[in-house]
Amino acid sequence: MMNFLMKRLAWGVLVLLAVAVITFFLSRVVPADPAAFLAGQNASEATVQRIRTEHGLDRPMAEQFVSYMAGLVRGDLGDSIRTRRSVSADLAQYLPATIELLLVSFVIYLGASFSLAVLAAKKPGGMVDGFIRLMTMIGTGIPVFWLGMTLQFFFFYKLHWLPLGARFPIRESAPPVVTGLMLVDSLLAGSLSAFAGSVKHLVLPSLTIVVNLLAVGTRLSRAALIQEQSRLYVRTARGKGLGPRTILYKHMLRNALSPILTATTMQFGYMISWVILVEVIFDWPGIGLYAYQSFQVFDYSPVIALAIVSTAGFVIINLVMDLLYPIIDPRVQSVGS
C-alpha cells in the first residue's frame, strides 16, 4: 500500500517536473520582454536594462532554467512580475477562490449528474430519459464562455437576481480570511448573510462550469446505470423480491460507480481548463484569472505555476480515485496489499 502510494507520488512528481520543464521552455520562446512592462511606458532604456538584470531576465536561458528548477525543488515558484510578489504568496491568495469554485461546482456536478442519470435510467427510452438525453446533448455543445455571458445577461442584467461576478457582495464587508473559502469563512464568522452573499456569487460561475460537464457526466452515468440494468445480479435481486428502489440504490448504483468515477476524473481535468474561462468572465479572483492576466504581460512564473498546480490537482484526483476504486468495487485489488 505504502509502496504503491510512494510509486504513484514519485510518478506524480515526475509528471510535475516534466510539466514545469515544458511550460518553462514554451513560455520562454515568447518574443516579449516582461522587463519593459515592469519598467513602464516612459522609463528609459537604461532603467529597463536595470530591471532586466534585477530579475535575471538577461541571463542565458539555461541559467534561468537551472535557477528556476532549483527554486522549484525548494518549493519556490519564482516571482510574479505583474504583481511584484512571490508566486507562492499569490497562489496562497488566489488558490482558495479557485478551490472553492471547483469544489462547489464539483459537488453540484456530482449531485446533479447522479440524480439526472438515476432519473433517466429509471425508465430508459421513456419521456424523462428522452428529455434528459436531449438536454445533455445540447449541454455538451454549449460553449462555456458563451453560456457564462448568457447567464450574466439574464440573471444579472435582465432579472437582477444574481450578481455579475466576483466572490462577495461589493458593499458588504467580507468575513475575515481564515481558510480563504468564503463559504467557510462566513460561517466561521457566524454571519449567515455573508454566507448567503457568497452563495449568490457562486451560483452563476459554478453553473457555467457545471452545465457542460454535467451534460457529459450525465450521459456517462446514465450509460453506466443502464448497462448495470441488464446485469444478471439485477435479476437476482428482483428474484429476491427487492423493490426497484433498493435495487437501484443498493445494487446498481454502487456497481455503476466505478465507470462514473473514471468519467469524473476526466471531467475534473476539463473543469480545471474551464475554470480559466469562467474566472475571466466572472472576474473571479482565482488562479485562472491570475495566470491569464499574468500571461497577458508575459509574466512567466504564474503561468508555469498554474500548469504545475493544475497538473498536481489532476495527479491528486487520480490518486484519490485509485484509492477509491477498491473501496467501491472489492474486485479491484486493493492496491499493493
Binding site: Q333, S334, V335, G336, S337
Partner: protein, 339 residues
C-alpha cells in the same frame, strides 16, 4: 507410431502483475505426444490448464520451460515466419465459434484467409475450393457472403472446422470444440470430427471437460489436474478402469444416461473445490480432495509412472490400492453394478 506433435516437460508460468507479483503455474511439467492419425483426449476440471496447454501446443504461447517438437523438429524457439510451414500442418479449432470468427468478415473472406496467409494462389479455383470445403463439413449451399452472426453456433463451428481443414493439416488441436454448443448440436460436431478423421487420417488433440465426449472420440486420454497430467492411457482402459482417484471421481460424477435412469448407483462425490493454481498443495496436488489420501501423499509428489502397458498414473497408491475401485466405478458408470 511416430509422434507428430510432442510436448516435452512443458511448463508455463504466468506472472500476475496486479496486487503484488504472484506466479501462476498453469502448466507444470507436462509431457504429451500425439502420433499420426491418433486422437488424444485431454480432460480435466476448469482452470486445470487445458487451454493453456492447447495454446502452448499451437505455439500461441511460449513455454516457460520444456520443448515442443513437431514431426521431430524442435519448434520451441521458432519465430512467426519460421512457424509458417508448421502452421500449415497444425491447425486449431476453438471453443466459441462465434467469437473465434471475425464477425466483420464474410464467410468467403474467412475461408480464403488460410490460403492468403500461406501464399496459396488458387485464382479462379478458390470459390470452388471453398464450396468444396464447406460441403465437406456439411454446409452445402451456404451463402458465403453472409457474416458470422447470421449463422447458428453449430453452423459456425462447422465453418471453423472447414477453415482448419483448408490447408489439409496433419493435426488439429481442438480446445473444447463442442462445449459452447447446445447438447443436441454437440453430437453433430462430434460426428463431424469423427467423419473427418475417417476420411483424412488426421490427428487430433481434443480438449474437453466432458468425459463422455473424450471417451467416445479419443484413442488415448490424458487427465489433467492442476497443471499436471495425473493419468494417461488408452481410452477404453481409462474409461473402464480408472486408476487415479481423481479420474475415478470424474467418471463417477457423470455416469451414463442408462445408469442415471436407474437412480440406484452411488457416486464418489469429491469434497471441496477445484484448487487454485496460484496456491498449489504440497505433495500430491490432489491430496486435499482425495478420499484415499495418506500421510505420504501430503509429503511426496507422486511421479507419473508407468503402471502397466501404456498406462501412466501419478498416484502413490496405484495400481494396487485403486484398481479395484476403478473397476467398480467403470461398471457402475454403465449401470452394471447397481440394481
Amino acid at each position: 507410431m511416430a509422434a507428430l506433435l510432442e510436448l516435452e516437460n512443458i511448463t508455463k508460468t504466468f506472472t500476475q502483475k496486479r496486487g503484488g507479483k504472484r506466479d501462476v503455474q498453469a502448466v507444470a511439467g507436462v509431457s504429451l505426444a500425439v502420433s499420426k492419425g491418433e486422437t488424444v483426449g485431454l480432460v480435466g476440471e476448469s482452470g486445470c490448464g487445458k487451454s493453456t496447454l492447447a495454446r502452448l501446443a499451437l505455439k500461441l504461447l511460449n513455454p516457460t520451460a520444456g520443448r515442443i517438437l513437431f514431426d521431430g523438429a524442435d519448434i520451441t524457439g521458432m519465430s512467426g515466419r519460421q512457424m509458417l510451414p508448421v502452421r500449415r500442418r497444425l491447425q486449431a479449432v476453438f471453443q466459441d465459434p462465434l467469437a473465434s470468427l471475425n464477425s466483420r468478415m464474410t464467410i468467403a473472406e474467412i475461408m480464403r484467409e488460410p490460403f492468403d496467409t500461406h501464399g496459396i494462389r488458387l485464382g479462379t479455383g478458390l470459390p470452388a475450393r471453398i464450396r468444396e470445403l464447406l460441403s465437406f463439413v456439411g454446409m452445402e449451399n451456404t451463402d458465403i457472403q453472409k457474416l458470422p452472426p447470421q449463422f447458428s453456433g453449430g453452423q459456425l463451428q462447422r465453418i471453423a472446422i472447414a477453415r482448419a481443414l483448408a490447408l489439409e493439416p496433419d493435426i488439429i488441436v481442438a480446445d473444447e470444440p463442442t462445449s459452447a454448443l447446445d447438447p443436441s448440436i454437440q453430437a453433430q460436431i462430434v460426428n463431424l470430427l469423427l467423419f473427418i478423421q475417417r476420411k483424412r487420417k488426421i490427428s487430433y488433440l481434443i480438449i474437453s471437460h466432458d468425459l463422455d465426449v473424450i471417451g467416445h472420440v479419443a484413442d488415448r486420454i490424458a487427465v489433467m489436474y492442476l497443471g499436471t497430467v495425473i493419468e494417461q492411457g488408452p481410452a477404453d482402459q481409462i474409461m473402464a478402469r480408472p486408476l487415479h482417484p481423481y479420474t475415478q471421481a470424474l467418471l463417477s460424477a457423470a455416469p451414463t444416461l442408462a445408469a442415471r435412469r436407474q437412480r440406484g448407483w452411488k457416486r464418489i462425490v469429491l469434497q471441496g473445490d477445484p484448487p487454485n493454481p496460484a496456491n498449489v498443495p504440497s505433495g500430491c496436488r490432489f491430496h486435499p480432495r482425495c478420499h484415499l489420501a495418506r500421510d505420504i501423499c501430503r509429503l511426496i509428489t507422486p511421479p507419473l509412472r508407468a503402471v502397466e502397458d501404456g498406462r501412466l498414473v501419478a498416484c502413490h497408491l496405484a495400481p494396487d490400492g485403486t484398481a479395484a475401485i476403478g473397476v467398480e466405478i467403470g461398471r457402475a458408470r454403465k449401470g452394471e453394478a447397481a440394481a
